[in-house]
């Protein structure tokens, strides 16, 4: 029979794919953004210092490459220092809502029964709320603030995560390898988090990345509407609101943060897609 084994074995080959130029560019954008998040405050501790005497300067003025706003604040310094508040919140929202999604979605999908019904109806309820409207109303009632907004957005972002994780878990639960785990009388937690979760990790990662981009835009919108970031804090969304009036005097004050929001959101999406594809290759032949 050993002869037969040799005769019948077929060689398989593995192929590695290098990331495309677009993905490399997206990584570079994120690296620069991450640098600004970490060191922005250190580099420009007094980014919000006003200089009413000099007032509004256009881009290209000496000492102010991107000019200043109405209060004489340097646009470049504010933009670099604003990266932290513009990006930390969205990342917290995406990760926080996914943690909720994983915990509730996995239980709903694996345990089924009444727990699934309760969790699913709860997500239906949350999904029916318009995100921005709800955020504005709650911020208005509770006085707003950065971290209130983060918690609120986590809650409002969680239903789609719960649903996506639940669907993935539901699909995996019927697979024979899960039944084999049940045959070994493994604990529910072990089956859910050791066996099922790694197999839905592609979904999880891709969705976290997507949500970072959505939350980035949502945060900027809220700041623009004046409910997210309190005045006096450097923030990209805030810059858009404050500098609306001087759009024609120093266009850079509006265009730069706006372009950065778009650029970072797109980069996160691209990297998310790429990582999702890479991850889904793990465990697959060829």
């Amino acid at each position: 029979m050993t002869a037969a084994i040799d005769l019948l074995s077929t060689p398989t080959r593995r192929r590695r794919r290098r990331p495309s130029a677009t993905v490399i560019f997206a990584f570079a954008v994120l690296a620069v953004a991450a640098f600004a998040v970490v060191f922005g405050g250190v580099l420009y501790p007094d980014a919000m210092r006003q200089d009413i005497l000099s007032g509004l300067l256009p881009a290209g003025s000496p000492g102010h490459p991107l000019g200043t706003d109405e209060l004489g604040r340097d646009v470049w310094a504010m933009t670099v220092a604003g990266a932290a508040s513009a990006l930390i919140g969205p990342v917290c929202v995406a990760v926080g809502s996914m943690i909720l999604g994983i915990v509730l979605g996995t239980h709903a999908g694996y345990e089924r029964g009444w727990l699934d019904v309760v969790i699913s109806r709860w997500t239906d309820l949350l999904l029916a709320l318009p995100v921005l409207l709800a955020a504005i109303v709650v911020s208005g009632v509770f006085g707003g603030g950065y971290w209130v907004t983060v918690v609120l957005l986590i809650l409002l972002f969680s239903p789609s995560d719960i649903r996506i994780v639940r669907a993935g878990v539901l699909e995996q639960s019927a697979r024979p390898y899960i039944e084999a785990a049940r045959m070994l009388s493994l604990s529910r937690w072990r089956v859910m988090f050791r066996h099922i979760l790694p197999n839905v990790s592609t979904l999880v990662l891709t969705n976290v990345m997507l949500n970072v981009a959505f939350a980035l835009v949502a945060f900027s919108s809220l700041s623009f509407l004046g409910v997210g970031v309190p005045p006096g804090t450097p923030d990209w969304g805030r810059q858009l609101t404050d500098n609306r009036a001087i759009m024609f005097d120093n266009p850079a004050a509006v265009i730069v943060p706006a372009v950065l929001i778009i650029l970072v959101a797109s980069a996160v999406n691209l990297v998310g897609d790429w990582a999702g594809q890479r991850l889904s290759q793990v465990g697959k032949a060829l």
Binding site: L8, A180, R182, L184, N199, S201, V282, G283, A285
Partner: protein, 525 residues
């Protein structure tokens, strides 16, 4: 000039030739078999003859069918004139090869229209469709049926009727019966044979199943990794194989060897204390009753076969015993202890299960070592025994570092068996565990199961649709039909004197594959 001549047919893929030059000739009314396992290039060869190669593949060589020489590099519009009228392909799976939203009569009619090159008048078309249906022994009303209203065997007949509609000279049948139940397989093949003789057609029958080929084909090509390793008259090749690969295939095929009845190792068969006794097991899915009073005894160290076609309830029964499904009524007693329905009343040391599909029964994100260590931990065995487990199932210890995706189907199934053995269960449930494997791999797994029974004294509940396989392995056979036990007894008893007509049908189907050559002795020209 009639018949088919193939000279130097090569299929070239992305990484060079996938099929090395093939020469063959088929006289009218004769059948050429192409035998090989998955990946041998047999299906690529078939597809190259009908211009359906996947993107990136191309074919070279000369192929003459009747008066017509095929241009293998032709564009699709040119192929459309060839397909149907000159050469036609009969596909494996009758469940997906027919359009679900069109009536069968229309689907046969399309081929007729295409062959005529115009839309036939309705009356003429209906008449021709009825003729074709009669030819494949289907009643006329099938023309108005949708595919989902027909059984698998009937659907494959419709597919044959559609393939014959435009009077082709060559039919290529690519594993035409693999998707069908045992009793249907023989009928479809015999039908194909009858039609072929009546019309003097050339047929290329592609298969991995030697039992099917024997007696139903005149010549055979054995392919492996794109090479023809052996060729000749079917009877000669099967009786006296020259190439070691052909010999390995023949040895591996359960229908080709005279059943080596397990040398009645019959562990002390104490009728009073079976390891497992199931009685009156009932199970409903909604309104449908899948199990109706099913009973089964398994003695310690015994291999009990359960045979039945898809839908007979055999898998549900296995799952009820394993506790993966909860029975509605009945009792399951393991070693004297009654087990409540469901998994909670059972321990890993009582029984383990090996599933059909080796591709989904291992967690793709875990290494083989991690999978086995987890199973060992359950039984409080040290993680160092992974190598020992791998050795038991005939795999080298280095496999612990691999992931399931790096393994072949047979190797994965060995790992699944190793995992099942880790808690040292007393009963191993094999739910169609070999049916997704190639024949030679199937034989290796069967040999492994027999060895495990002999060495470990483990009892095995072996579920299969394939009587030939069960006959090789099992001590007792229970035949399930529509959720009911229609026959039970020792293997020899049931096979030699079946009492129920359904069993007789199954036995006849399994035997026909063996005895056909005596009814029909082909000679080489």
């Amino acid at each position: 000039m009639s018949g088919v001549e193939i000279a130097g047919l090569t299929v070239i893929g992305h990484d060079g030739p996938m099929v090395k030059p093939i020469d063959a000739a088929i006289a009218p009314g004769r059948t050429l078999a192409i035998i090989g396992e998955s990946g041998s290039g047999k299906t690529l060869t078939a597809k190259s003859l009908v211009g359906l190669l996947p993107r990136g593949f191309r074919a070279e060589g000369t192929v003459r069918i009747g008066e017509r020489t095929l241009d293998l590099d032709a564009a699709q519009p040119a192929w459309r004139a060839v397909r149907g009228g000159t050469v036609t392909l009969l596909l494996q799976d009758p469940f997906t090869s027919l359009s679900p939203v069109h009536r069968c009569g229309d689907q046969i009619g399309w081929t007729l229209d295409a062959a005529a090159g115009r839309r036939l008048p309705r009356a003429e078309r209906d008449r021709m469709v009825a003729e074709r249906l009669a030819e494949v022994k289907l009643p006329e009303h099938v023309a108005r049926s949708f595919p989902h209203q027909l059984s698998g065997g009937m659907r494959q007949r419709v597919a044959i009727a559609a393939a014959l509609a435009a009077d082709p000279q060559l039919i290529i049948a690519d594993e035409p019966t693999t998707a069908l139940d045992a009793s249907n397989q023989a009928e479809i093949l015999d039908l194909l044979r009858t039609v072929q003789r009546a019309r003097s057609l050339c047929v290329i029958l592609i298969s991995h199943d030697l039992g099917m080929v024997r007696g139903r084909t005149d010549d055979v090509l054995v392919m492996r990794h794109g090479d023809v390793v052996e060729r000749g008259a079917t009877a000669t090749v099967l009786a006296d194989p020259q190439h070691p690969y052909t010999r390995a295939l023949i040895e591996a095929d359960p229908t080709m060897t005279i059943s080596p009845q397990p040398a009645a190792v019959s562990a002390p068969r104490d009728e009073a204390s079976p390891l497992l006794r199931a009685t009156g097991v009932d199970k409903h899915f909604g309104d449908r009753q899948v199990l109706d009073g099913v009973a089964l005894d398994i003695a310690p160290g015994q291999i009990a076969g359960v045979v039945g076609e898809s839908g007979s309830g055999k898998s549900t029964f296995a799952r009820c015993i394993a506790g993966l499904e909860s029975e509605d009524a009945g009792s399951i007693v393991f070693d004297g202890v009654p087990l409540a329905p469901g998994r909670r009343s059972r321990t890993p040391e009582q029984m383990q299960i090996v599933f059909q599909d080796p591709y989904s029964s291992l967690n793709p994100m875990m290494s083989i070592g991690a999978i086995l260590r987890e199973a060992l931990r359950v039984a409080q065995r040290p993680a160092t025994e992974v190598a020992e487990l791998l050795e038991t199932v005939g795999l080298p210890a280095e496999f612990a570092r691999k992931r399931p995706a790096e393994l072949s189907g047979g190797q994965r199934q060995r790992v699944a068996i190793a995992r099942a053995l880790a808690p040292r269960p007393r009963l191993l449930i094999c739910d169609e565990s070999v049916s997704a494997l190639d024949v030679s791999v199937q034989a290796q797994i069967l040999a492994l199961l027999m060895r495990l029974r002999d060495e470990l004294g483990i009892a095995i509940l072996f579920i299969s649709h394939d009587l030939a396989v069960v006959r090789m392995l099992a001590d007792t056979v229970t035949v399930l039909w529509n959720g009911r036990v229609v026959e039970t007894g020792t293997c020899a008893q049931v096979l030699t004197e079946p009492r129920h007509e359904y069993t007789a049908l199954l036995v006849a189907a399994a035997n026909r594959e063996n005895t056909a050559p005596t009814l029909d002795s082909p000679k080489k020209d």
